[in-house]
């Protein structure tokens, strides 16, 4: 009897303890939030890829990836820093965000980020292009994982350029060097009645890669060197800007191409997503146009060099379950077949060796002539050009932002003065503004 009694009491106690427990196994998926840059203000192809993950692997593994923000790297940079510094009013950091190493370097505590080496084996990492992996290493940790890489490309509105070429004898080959391109831009301005030929998204990169391609260091420590090759790059560029052949307004290069205010641009290969196939003029007439991609120009006496671009993915440390989910998603996104499908929908390059092998077949499947020409230009660039990666300087972003703003502002002012003065020769103003720019940058 005593034994029966004891057994019942033990059972009652055990059941009571179980009953008191709050936790109930939930059928909810682990939801990962992401901020990314692939398709700002458009129907983002990455969102479609993420939906595919959610419907397949995600369903099986109980992982749901939710896009919280599609923007650009600068916006994400600011949002990440605000969140990391726990600024009042800032949004919480997502589980995943797309960013350049410069953002991680600027974070108050990069240790809040996951080291991808902890969830990828050495064999797995060997599948990736070593330079891409190296680019994401910060203080011995792999904090920025490559998911897609891009470079700079020259986009030309061939429909309008052909019209100009027919009248003036200009050739598309003229745009293969910076000297030729800027020279042509001045002719185009005359022909078009004051419109610019070229818009450049990254004036800072033009000078940086330009100097390096001519064998001179662009940086002197954490400042700009302003050596003789800088002057060499400045001269044709500033001439085009002052005389009206170079677009100097703020905003992306896609804007003037959309309105017909420029017919060529240099920007990230990823901007292919944002080039419209028609131009809308100020009187609301529209015209269908062909946008074609070419390798970026180089200096006549310089090496063929181009900027390596493409941010990587960062993950915020969390519990084991979430970190496992993060690793599952990143491995899936960078698996060769998925990665090639993803990158070719957004104008990027894959990040694995196997992905590069699959690329030609995927390019064949592309319908858009614009995308086809982009990948032809990309393959040409890979064959002929040296890729340049920007140094990981703490003040890189500040330098870049100040440079972009100042150079556009000063040259707009110079162009206005030049127009008002009505002089033929712009060389004096060219020199004057180089000195001003150098002085302003050093002061900043």
């Amino acid at each position: 009897m005593r034994r029966v009694l004891a057994a019942i009491l033990v059972l009652a106690f055990t059941v009571s303890c179980l009953g008191c427990g709050e936790s109930v196994s939930k059928s909810n998926p682990v939801t990962l939030t992401i901020w990314h840059v692939y398709g700002e203000q458009t129907a983002s192809p990455l969102n479609d890829i993420i939906n595919e993950f959610n419907d397949t692997i995600g369903q099986q593994e109980g992982i749901k990836v939710q896009v919280s923000l599609v923007s650009n790297t600068n916006t994400i940079h600011e949002a990440v820093l605000k969140a990391a510094e726990k600024e009042p009013g800032a949004t919480e950091l997502p589980d995943l965000f797309i960013s350049y190493p410069k953002t991680v370097l600027a974070m108050p505590d990069p240790d809040i980020l996951m080291d991808f080496r902890e969830c990828f084996s050495e064999d797995e990492l060997n599948e990736y292009v070593p330079e891409f992996i190296e680019e994401g290493e910060i203080n011995g940790k792999l904090l920025v994982f490559p998911v897609a890489k891009s470079t700079e490309i020259l986009f030309v509105n061939n429909t309008l350029f052909d019209r100009f070429a027919k009248d003036t004898g200009a050739k598309i080959e003229d745009l293969s060097t910076w000297e030729g391109l800027f020279d042509t831009s001045v002719k185009y301005k005359e022909w078009s009645g004051g419109k610019a030929l070229i818009a450049h998204d990254y004036h800072f990169n033009y000078f940086q890669v330009g100097c390096e391609s001519m064998g001179e260091d662009f940086f002197d420590g954490d400042a700009i060197a302003f050596g003789p090759k800088f002057e060499k790059a400045w001269e044709p560029y500033a001439k085009a800007a002052i005389e009206g052949g170079l677009w100097l307004n703020e905003g992306y290069a896609t804007e003037p191409l959309r309105t017909g205010d420029a017919i060529a641009s240099v920007g990230s290969s990823a901007s292919v997503l944002y080039y419209a196939d028609e131009v809308t003029y100020a009187d609301n007439r529209t015209e269908k146009v062909d946008i074609t991609a070419y390798p970026v120009p180089c200096f006549e006496k310089g090496e063929k060099m181009v900027m390596q671009r493409g941010a990587g993915i960062c993950a915020v440390k969390s519990n084991t379950e979430r970190e496992k989910a993060i690793a599952t998603f990143v491995k899936w996104l960078t698996s060769p077949e998925i990665n090639v499908k993803f990158v070719t929908s957004v104008g990027y390059m894959p990040v694995t060796n196997k992905g590069f092998e699959l690329l030609p077949d995927q390019i064949e499947k592309l319908d858009s002539p614009k995308y086809k020409s982009l990948y032809e230009a990309y393959i040409q660039t890979q064959k002929d050009y040296t890729f340049y990666s920007a140094p990981k300087l703490d003040n890189y972003l500040d330098l870049e932002t100040t440079f972009e703003k100042e150079v556009r502002r000063l040259l707009r002012k110079a162009a206005m003065e030049y127009n008002e003065e009505g002089k033929e020769d712009s060389s004096v103003k060219n020199r004057e503004y180089l000195i001003k720019f150098e002085r302003d940058m050093k002061r900043n």
């Binding site: 009652a12 109930v24 939930k26 939801t31 203000q41 959610n54 923000l69 923007s71 529209t286």
Partner: protein
């Protein structure tokens, strides 16, 4: 039954008249019996759903959240509608000013780039203010004119300005970045605003639901506004609800249309998923038709923790505490509440809160099993305690009582009783008359008067009685009487 009650009465009697120790034990015994009965009662009530009803509790949580969300949405909608109406009045005044300054009629704005640019430049400021103050994802204003009536599709092309937030985030931003989605690129540059990636110069009114209708019929800004269902903005991945407010003025047809838009990202941030013990509770705001929530035409809050597909409708099945909402993919439990939204087709709109069924069912099952098992175990424990007390203390007492009651007395005592009863039969009539008086409680000294005999006669009869009954004295005889009386057998000592 009467036997049991009698025994309980006896136990109560014993517990009252015996020592403290027995009383405490008896008290424990009764408490255990009472708790066992209560336990069984609770189990019956739980199983019948009368008490500890998890479904009712869950419905209570849903109802609270639903009321909050419905109130919040109604407030928000009222606020944005008010912004839209004010914007309409402001643009109406601006149009009048522009027409007066340029000394033209309204229709003369067609093919007039200079006037239209002037007008856009002015309404840009109002729209920019609305988007920055109001917190909507976009704001717009268009007039019923086009810059070029000779281009293809000019019948649906209308001039105006649409600004959209470059990034819809949850951050507090004093001066959020905006992009111009529709409007002159020159105005964008003058105001240092980027062109939206999918910029166009003018609006295509075919993409504004109900545009032609409102331009034909609308006369009153404050009454003829409406909200559209979720609409995908031309070329973007953005889908939004659009507020359309007519801009009325000094002509029969309205000057144009204006309003704000609330995109999905906005709803995502404003209506986050609530993490409850039943699972993730999400909010959807949708049209309702044919017992179906038209998710594909409404807005969803953050769907974190669920697999809700915002392209599939949810069939509503009403239940006692909450409803079941099912699509081909998943089923949810939840509640809905009607909210007043002025729309073109007059459909009913609902705010609904939903929790994935799987999580709810698992929770309800878990809680019900745990509680029932807990009460059952408790009841069984009480029952076994009662049994233990019964075996240990109550049973022996009852056995003793039964024995006393049923004459199950020790053999020697029984022999004594039988012998005494047999001896009574041997008494003579005279002896028995004396003996009977003793049996009735009389003393020796009272007998002579009672029976009208002498004391010596009494002594003689006593001697004979004692001898026949085998007792040595009157005291001994009295003791036997007492014993028989206590055993309720006093009558056995009478002659048959």
């Amino acid at each position: 039954m009467s036997n049991i009650i009698r025994k309980i009465k006896q136990i109560v009697y014993l517990s009252k008249h015996k020592g403290n120790d027995l009383r405490v034990k008896m008290m424990f015994y009764f408490i255990a019996i009472a708790l066992t009965a209560i336990g069984f009662l609770i189990i019956v009530l739980v199983l019948s759903g009368r008490i500890f009803n998890v479904s009712a509790q869950m419905a209570g949580v849903m109802q609270n959240h639903l009321n909050n969300q419905a109130e919040k949405f109604s407030d928000e909608l009222t606020q944005y509608t008010a912004y839209g109406i004010e914007l309409s009045r402001s643009i109406s005044k601006t149009v009048d000013d522009v027409l007066e300054e340029h000394n033209i009629e309204f229709y003369q704005m067609n093919n007039n780039p200079e006037v239209l640019e002037d007008l856009q430049s002015r309404i840009f400021q109002d729209i920019n203010t609305v988007i920055k103050l109001g917190g909507s994802s976009g704001a717009y204003g268009l007039v019923d004119c086009t810059i070029n009536t000779s281009v293809l599709g000019s019948g649906h092309s209308r001039a105006g300005v649409c600004l959209r937030l470059a990034n819809v985030t949850g951050e507090f931003v004093l001066n959020p970045e905006v992009a111009i989605y529709r409007g002159s690129s020159e105005i964008a540059r003058k105001n240092d605003v980027k062109l939206h990636t999918l910029w166009n110069l003018e609006f295509n009114t075919q993409n504004i639901p109900g545009y032609d209708d409102i331009m034909e019929k609308s006369r009153d800004t404050g009454k003829d506004y409406y909200w559209t269902e979720r609409t995908v903005l031309e070329g973007t991945g953005d889908s939004c609800m659009l507020l359309c407010v007519p801009i009325t003025g000094n002509r029969v047809r309205p000057y144009g249309l204006c309003g704000v838009d609330l995109n999905e990202k906005h709803f995502n941030l404003q209506y986050p998923a609530l993490d409850t013990v039943y699972g993730s509770m999400i909010t959807v705001i949708t049209p309702y038709s044919d017992s179906q929530l038209l998710i594909e035409n409404g807005m969803t809050g953050n769907t974190e923790g669920t697999w809700l597909d915002n392209t599939l409708g949810l069939k509503v099945e009403e239940r006692s505490y909450y409803n079941a909402y099912g699509s081909t993919k998943e089923v949810y439990y939840g509640l809905s509440k009607e909210i007043p939204i002025k729309t073109l087709d007059g459909k009913t709109w609902m705010v609904s809160v939903l929790i994935p069924r799987e999580g709810c069912d698992a929770y309800i099952r878990h809680k019900r099993i745990m509680f029932t098992a807990l009460i059952l175990a408790f009841t069984l424990a009480m029952l076994s305690i009662a049994l233990h007390l019964s075996n240990r203390f109550v049973k022996p007492i009852l056995a003793e009582l039964d024995r006393k009651e049923g004459g199950d007395m020790p053999a020697d005592l029984k022999e004594l009783f039988d012998s005494l009863m047999a001896s009574v039969e041997t008494l003579t009539r005279a002896e028995y008359s004396v003996y009977e008086k003793y049996l009735e409680g009389y003393d020796i000294a009272q007998i002579p008067d009672e029976l009208m005999i002498s004391s010596n006669t009494v002594k003689k009869h006593n001697k004979s009685i004692y001898k026949k009954l085998n007792v040595s004295s009157f005291d001994e005889l009295s003791l036997y009487f007492d014993l028989f009386r206590r055993c309720n057998r006093i009558d056995d000592l009478r002659k048959k």
